[in-house]
């Protein structure tokens, strides 16, 4: 069957806030500058725009204001303005309110949003400009001419579980572009491949990630005033673990409740999903959720490493923007505005390069220079070592975060050294010197009552996740023998714990041992396994286009 080819000027891979902002900015430039219109396309793996988007989310509207000045008139879905900030330090049973909200966590002037609604709205603006948004198409590989990026290939459709072609087989399409803007999100599969191939991370620090797990709850409307923002530190995490909880009160009694756990924990038995259950059982949270109903669930990794971990964001024929590159301010817990702004800057450089007929990396370097001159650097550079400081424990992190507000982020070793999370994870025998825990049950179990707390499988149902069943696993474990043997002993199969969607299970092999079972159709595309697996033998590749969660209001 012949492979179809599509030629465009600028291809944007990933229809998140960065990708949609890039597309919209390109349309604006077209109008401003006139001339022969550029052919632009946006590729998005979810069935509809925004369906794979998940965030808290508090939006800093600075980039939005620039991109869509009349965003209110255009009906931007901003759920509520933030009225009230609370920051608590939690112990097992008590809460301690910070007397002053730390400046980075002050959210006055910001908005509570559902990111998936927001991106759906942005997508509508993009389409109204006549730009094609191809939803339901995943990008499986980058196309090169030598080391120059010349586009991408979309995934084949209609491949059976064992790799055989089904009657409805359709080969992927080659989309060739003068400039490809990669906005494939945190740990994007194309960005990962491109960074590796061209060593774009040379001389950079390893990215540090976190995983955010979130539920939407419906509670009586008068329980918390819309626009209330609550952040917590401490319990159920221990001093050595990074992370915290959030509760955002949307209108009509909808609460966005979530927990972010650093993916740089040392305890191999740590379980982010169980931690989230403990968080909900804390009196502060349980009281807010009492009598309410969980209506949605989802999870997503976040790139938290900051300025020093961002790879080179340009190459011949390619630019990288948003979470894919790691533009996120972990001190302010915000990345949407940075994704939007880097998307806009990438669009400007791409437009300039296409018009000039020069898409070489020396021309596209203008994007990196523009970032250096922009609010992105002004915001990220002073907090460049903050997340790294938390790897020395919570007190050290808070102390350094406070210090950096005064010193502009100075540290005697700059960049402050850090290790990738999967390297920090200890082996069981190093961490549990007094006795080996059972790898198949949580060390600190949380009671599951299916009212306030849920098991993974029930939760996954509320993510709306669906994949074509008869297709190869999109989670490629390169050596499952390691799972049965080495990993079982050394780390106790941490994939069964860090995956928030019950994709990984160790099941009875029938001979007294356990073997790995992968349930790919549960996958919510959070990418945690690709990030955190200690042997780095798990590759997340996109499933057949259209598969994945169906987030609504997340």
């Amino acid at each position: 069957m012949p492979r179809e080819t599509l030629e465009v000027d600028v291809l944007i891979v990933g229809g998140g806030p960065a990708g949609m902002s890039a597309a919209l900015r390109l349309a604006q430039l077209q109008k401003e500058k006139g001339g022969e219109p550029l052919a632009i396309a946006v590729l998005e793996k979810s069935r509809e725009a925004g369906a794979h988007m998940l965030s808290g989310a508090v939006l800093d509207p600075s980039a939005l204001r620039e991109l869509v000045p009349d965003f209110k008139a255009k009906g931007a879905p901003l759920a509520s303005e933030v009225h009230d900030d609370h920051v608590y330090f939690l112990t097992r049973t008590a809460k301690l309110r910070f007397p002053l909200t730390p400046p980075p966590l002050r959210n006055h002037g910001n908005y509570l949003i559902s990111l998936n609604r927001f991106v759906k709205w942005l997508g509508g603006l993009v389409e109204a400009e006549g730009i094609d948004v191809f939803t339901g198409f995943s990008a499986s590989e980058v196309l090169y001419d030598g080391d120059r990026v010349v586009g991408i290939r979309t995934g084949d459709r209609g491949i059976g579980r064992h790799g055989e072609r089904k009657p409805a087989f359709e080969p992927g399409v080659d989309i060739r572009a003068k400039v490809t803007i990669l906005t494939d999100g945190v740990r994007g599969n194309l960005t990962k491949a491109l960074v590796r191939r061209l060593a774009l991370d040379e001389g950079r620090e390893p990215q540090l990630y976190a995983i955010g797990i979130k539920e939407l709850w419906e509670v009586p409307a008068d329980r918390v005033a819309a626009g209330t923002v609550i952040h917590t530190m401490g319990y159920p995490l221990r001093m050595e673990e990074f992370g915290g909880g959030f509760i955002y009160a949307m209108p009509d009694g909808v609460l966005s409740v979530g927990f972010v756990s650093g993916l740089d924990y040392r305890d191999p038995m740590f379980d982010p999903h169980v931690t989230f259950q403990h968080f909900k059982r804390h009196p502060l949270v349980a009281a807010l959720l009492d009598g309410g109903q969980m209506v949605r669930y989802g999870a997503k990794a976040l790139p938290e490493g900051g300025w020093h971990t961002i790879p080179r964001v340009y190459a011949d024929g390619a630019l990288i923007a948003g979470d894919a590159a790691g533009f996120l301010n972990s001190m302010r817990l915000k990345g949407i505005h940075l994704a939007m702004r880097t998307g806009m800057l990438a669009a400007e450089s791409a437009f300039d390069a296409v018009r000039a007929g020069d898409v070489s990396s020396s021309r596209l370097k203008g994007y990196a220079d523009a970032i250096d001159r922009s609010a992105v650097r002004r915001e990220l550079y002073p907090v460049r070592n903050v997340h790294q400081s938390f790897t020395y424990g919570l007190p050290a992190g808070i102390a350094y975060a406070g210090l950096s507000l005064v010193t502009g982020g100075w540290w005697y070793r700059d960049p402050m050294p850090a290790h990738a999370g999967y390297e920090r994870m200890c082996k069981i025998e190093e961490y549990y010197r007094d006795g080996r825990p059972d790898p198949d049950s949580p060390v600190r179990p949380a009671k599951i009552d299916r009212k306030l707390t849920f098991d993974r499988l029930t939760n996954v149902h509320y993510s709306g996740t669906r994949h074509a069943e008869d297709q190869p696993s999109h989670l490629i474990v390169h050596d499952t023998d390691i799972c049965r043997t080495r990993c079982r002993t050394e780390y106790g199969n941490p994939c069964t714990r860090f995956c928030p969607a019950n994709v990984y299970e160790m099941v009875d092999a029938g001979d007294g041992t356990r073997k790995l079972q992968i349930n790919p159709s549960n996958c919510v595309h959070c990418k945690t396994c690709d990030i955190m697996d200690p042997y780095q033998i798990i590759d997340w590749v996109p499933p057949e286009g259209g598969g994945g969660p169906q987030y609504e209001g997340m």
Partner: protein, 319 residues
Amino acid sequence: MVLVVAEQRGGKLNRATWEAIAAAQQAGGPVKVALLGSGLDAPAAELAAADVAEVIVVDSAALEEYTADGYVAALAGLVERESPALVFLAHTYQTRDFAPALAARLGRPLVTDVTAIKKQDAAITYTRPVFQGKLTAEIGASGPAPHFVTFQIGAFRADAAGRGAAPAPVRKADVTIDAGAIRQKPEAPFKEAKQSVDLSQAERIVAVGRGIKAQEHLKIAEQLAQALGAELAASRPICDAGWLPMDRQVGSSGQTVAPKLYLALGISGAIQHLVGMKGARTIVAINKDAEAPIFEIADFGIVGDLFEIVPAMIAELNK
């Protein structure tokens, strides 16, 4: 008058047709059934057993094989001639294919995937799921008749369709179909799986879950299914392991079933499974774990070892 559009393939009636008839009888007023195809004596006689005013057969060589254009043309003509107040259809794949075009052709409202109807005076409100089944909406249809309504499979019971004291008259309607106007050319139907089963048509189902432990133990479930005249089904892990083909999977990623009897063996009852079978009339669950969520929806529950209980059931059934 309510006109029910029956569905047949190769002269074999789709069981869901009886569900649509049951819905029509509940709506009140005279009910007529339209049957389309070619060579329809047997299914027409079968339908005539129902408590309906008459069975209208549109027999045409152009309808021998289903095409959307053929059905829309035939039904548009028939509906205009019979002028029913309502047209009821089962929400099958075939209905989904042609009903929107039919309603649009006649410029009439179409209410799909209805799970219940409520009559208030002359007005009917329809209940249908929205937001992926998270909410149900009650909606009414307005504008001139007829209104087209499709019913979710399993929402009404096929066996609730009333039977008439005497066979209903069968009338051949004289509808001419211009074969040249049919743009689709049907090919031989292909099935993705080698032996496709349609569990939604099964009256009894024996379903197995992880509690069955090993593939060789499937035999006892098969024996039980055979003794009961039931189809064999499974929860996801069994099909994932390849012990049963994927077309026997019940649940959110498999089939949705509504048999009279659903016997769950060693199924814990994850919500993904429950959404696929909670419409069963009688649910019997056997599980070792008394806390398993399957017991929350089971009508009869046995906490115990299925390897002791099932052989005893088979022995009893075979007596």
